[in-house]
């Protein structure tokens, strides 16, 4: 047995507890003190987190760490403290009002099994703001906001916590002689532990509804509820599970190598390149490989993408800027090169294509009916080529065709980027697509 050091965890430095005579909060707070005395925890290792409401006045009466936060959010601060320092004992005090406004935190802490203790002083109404009804006010209960009787139904806090997966759930009343022991057991749970403690609010709910000890116990029975343990399903606490999951899965993470310029380029000024196609054509990743290829050729590059939120449908457009200088403005009003590989791309950027100046080159799949444009047009049999290279490589092939035609940087820089940053299997297919794409341009040149 360890020698008892702490006879109380409370201080009278700022006076006695502030609650009304007969208020259940006084009972709950004193029971918590007795539980802490039983457990003999180091006060520096205990944090009492309080919510808003009368019970929110209580943290400052303890010798432990105290944290008093926003209404309904005490669970979130408690979780933050616990996640940062799992060795701490974190006890949250809230009322039924906070359980309502912070309902999502109540559900999610139970589901996650973060090892805090939640004590709800449930007195069926808002004491601090003038006796308004809460999520636990009984049907028919009279409050300042239900003067004719509450038309709403009460939430079963224990049932809700249990349904959300709480590891340890206990229903108590302020009249239970073993309340301190029950609280001590709650605090000792490694996972999330929650207690719904039924109380009297002598200022508001009790006088309006003639609810005294006998009636409170009858009310509890009338719901078919019992006092005592409601759920006990221990499982590993969140921070333990978090580390385990990370250790088991971390091998999936891979690092990218830096790019060292190793090829020449012929780009004299900031140059805009747009590729427009459809979802599923790997436009974004092809554009990234292209831009990284430009970087292997000593250029600066930027890329932005335009695609619908539903990523596997509709258009996919990538805008690339390459320059030997620093790139300031990343907008492209008149692209130097426009690569059009599907009807979706045309639909999305038709207005831009119609306005292309004569200095632009438009590379377009031969099957697409183009609007009138001043740009120089190069037709590519991409849909036909897709039959041999696969439709996932069409964008890569189109970039290769454009590179072969424009010569802004070497095809080999493009291949180097592909090999550097894609898995060997995909890289092999992509490099073949690069050859096929370049060949398309060569065939067209010969035909010309």
């Amino acid at each position: 047995m360890t020698e008892t050091k702490y006879e109380s965890y409370m201080t009278d430095k700022i006076g006695p507890l502030p609650f009304c005579a007969g208020c259940g909060h006084t009972t709950l707070i004193k029971a918590l003190d007795k539980a802490l005395v039983k457990l003999q925890l180091d006060p520096k290792e205990v944090v009492i987190v309080t919510d808003i409401g009368c019970i929110g006045l209580s943290d400052r009466y303890f010798l432990t760490n105290g944290f008093h936060g926003l209404h309904g959010r005490s669970i979130t601060y408690a979780c933050g403290l616990k996640l940062a320092r799992p060795e701490l004992t974190v006890i949250t005090l809230m009322g039924d009002g906070a359980a309502g406004i912070g309902g999502t935190h109540f559900l999610n802490v139970a589901r996650r099994n973060i090892g805090i203790t939640l004590l709800i002083g449930n007195n069926f109404n808002y004491g601090m703001t003038g006796g308004q009804h809460s999520v636990t006010t009984p049907t028919g209960g009279k409050t300042s906001t239900t003067p004719w009787g509450n038309p709403e139904g009460p939430m079963d806090l224990c049932g809700t916590a249990a349904a959300a997966g709480a590891a340890w759930v206990y229903r108590a009343t302020m009249f239970d002689n073993d309340l301190p022991d029950a609280i001590a057991t709650a605090i000792q749970q490694p996972g999330f532990a929650m207690m719904d403690v039924w109380e009297l609010c002598t200022a508001y709910y009790m006088p309006r509804n003639d609810l005294k000890r006998k009636e409170l116990l009858e009310l509890l029975k009338s719901y078919g509820y019992t006092v005592g343990l409601q759920a006990d399903k221990p499982r590993p606490e969140y921070t333990v599970r978090y580390r385990e999951a990370y250790e088991a899965g971390k091998s999936v993470l891979k690092k990218k190598k830096p790019i060292e310029p190793q090829f020449e380029n012929s780009v004299k000024r900031q140059t805009g390149i747009i590729i427009a196609g459809s979802a599923g054509q790997k436009i974004k990743s092809a554009a990234t490989s292209f831009a990284e290829g430009a970087m292997f050729a000593g250029l600066n590059a930027t890329q932005k993408d335009d695609y619908p939120i539903t990523v596997q449908t509709g258009h996919s457009v990538a805008e690339i800027v390459v320059s030997p200088e620093r790139i300031d403005y990343t907008g492209i009003e008149a692209p130097d090169y426009f690569i059009l590989i599907s009807e979706d791309g045309l639909k999305r950027r038709r207005a831009m294509i119609e306005k292309l100046p004569e200095t632009s080159t438009l590379y377009a799949d031969e099957s697409i009916e183009l609007p009138a444009t001043k740009a120089k047009i190069v037709r590519l049999p991409l849909a036909e080529a897709a039959k041999s290279i696969g439709k996932l490589s069409v964008a890569i092939a189109a970039f290769a065709a454009m590179l072969e035609d424009s010569g802004i940087f070497p095809i080999e820089a493009f291949n180097t980027a592909i090999r550097a940053f894609t898995s060997p299997k995909i890289a092999e297919a992509s490099v073949s697509a690069v050859s096929a794409g370049a060949e398309l341009t060569n065939k067209i040149s010969k035909a010309r």
């Binding site: 520096k44 320092r85 970087m295």
Partner: protein
């Protein structure tokens, strides 16, 4: 050493890691979500923890709790989420909590255009919470600056025990750029001043001069700690005494406002004899750079001031740049937010012209030249 092709959101995450960030909580929102993805890659590997909150309110709550237990914390969001951060930002100011908040702005109001950019939250970030006390906000323009300013934001948050915003933008957050982060020069790392070991008394908000930043003792550390959302005294006990409440309010204000020279970061590109000045920040400063270059190429004398610190307002730098100017041009991707600060500081005879739009498209260099009358 060497180049990488990364987006602004990754640079923010990397800057945070460079500052030893070891806790991250956030709720997914376009265009900030990838910060959550990157932090999942980086933080657990460094021994820290990342959690996706059930909403923005929970994410902020986790961060505040973790920060007060000694973690260096980051969270990220966009306009709609920032609305939900509001009340907790007030708490973070009240409790003098070091934390960095990245706002990757998008077109609003409300859900707006989730995948498009705007600078619509510039005044919102300043006045984000009840009480109107000052915060710090840094606006990177490039991927490199997203890295550097996030690192510096951690320094400021630790040094001044305050929430610091990174004012990002869809056009920065999810645009990839070639960058060499290893070559970026960074100031020394600053960590929060902790109370001396063995100190007999710990007052969480102790200061002698109003502008002093209190030394901290982490929850779970050597001292019993307190934190409260209510008006409080230096010991973090609730108070209703007007003189103490005023003293604390003056303290929160003074510690930021007296540090304005330390916090101010601007990029000055001045020309002798220029009577026109362009003042810009964030993504739009890149368009301004092109506009100024083009105007100069056509023989126009013109100066440029780019603000990396936007809150608190770098008044000295702005006022000095406006001296002997006839016209100040302020391009913004909103309907005129920061221009209010410029107009407030401008001498009477200076014409302040906004180049303003909020239609998801970048303000182009051409628009700045034409609507700003640079030529």
């Amino acid at each position: 050493m060497g180049y990488e092709f990364i987006e602004g959101n990754e640079a923010v995450a990397r800057g945070a890691m460079r500052a030893n960030c070891n806790f991250f909580a956030s709720y997914p929102i376009t265009p900030a979500s990838s910060i959550l993805h990157y932090m999942n890659e980086f933080v657990p590997e460094a021994g820290g923890l990342v959690i996706q909150g059930e909403d923005e309110i929970a994410s902020m709550g986790f961060c505040i709790g973790a920060a007060m237990a000694g973690r260096k914390v980051l969270t990220s969001t966009s306009g709609p989420g920032l609305s939900l951060y509001s009340e907790n930002i007030g708490l973070a100011i009240m409790g003098e909590t070091p934390m960095v908040i990245v706002n990757v702005q998008r077109q609003g109001p409300a859900t707006g255009s989730a995948t498009e950019g705007a600078d619509g939250d510039i005044q919102f970030m300043r006045w984000v919470t009840s009480g109107g006390l000052p915060i710090i906000a840094l606006a990177p323009a490039t991927v490199e600056e997203a890295y550097k300013l996030t690192y510096i934001a951690f320094n400021f948050s630790e040094k001044y025990r305050t929430p610091v915003f990174i004012v990002s933008h869809k056009e920065l957050g999810v645009t990839k750029e070639s960058v060499d982060l290893d070559s970026v020069e960074l100031p020394p790392m600053v960590n929060r001043k902790r109370i001396q070991s063995g100190a007999t008394e710990y007052l969480p908000h102790y200061f002698e001069k109003l502008e002093d930043v209190p030394a901290i003792s982490d929850f779970g550390g050597e001292h019993v700690a307190r934190y409260t959302t209510s008006t409080h005294d230096k010991a973090a006990y609730l108070t209703t005494k007007p003189e103490i409440i005023q003293e604390m309010i003056d303290h929160y204000t003074a510690k930021i406002e007296s540090a304005i020279d330390d916090i101010t970061m601007v990029k000055e590109d001045y020309e002798d004899g220029a009577d026109t000045l362009v003042i810009s920040y964030g993504i739009t400063s890149r368009s301004a750079a092109v506009a100024v270059r083009e105007a100069r190429a056509k023989g126009k004398k013109i100066s440029s001031l780019v603000l990396q610190t936007i809150w608190p307002v770098p008044e000295k730098a702005i006022k000095s740049a406006m001296e002997r100017k006839k016209k100040v041009v302020v391009p913004e991707m909103n309907m005129g937010q920061y221009i209010m600060e410029i107009k407030r500081l401008a001498p009477r005879d200076v014409e302040v012209v906004g180049v303003l739009k909020m239609n998801t498209k970048l303000v182009s260099p051409q628009e700045i030249i034409e609507k700003g009358g640079l030529l």
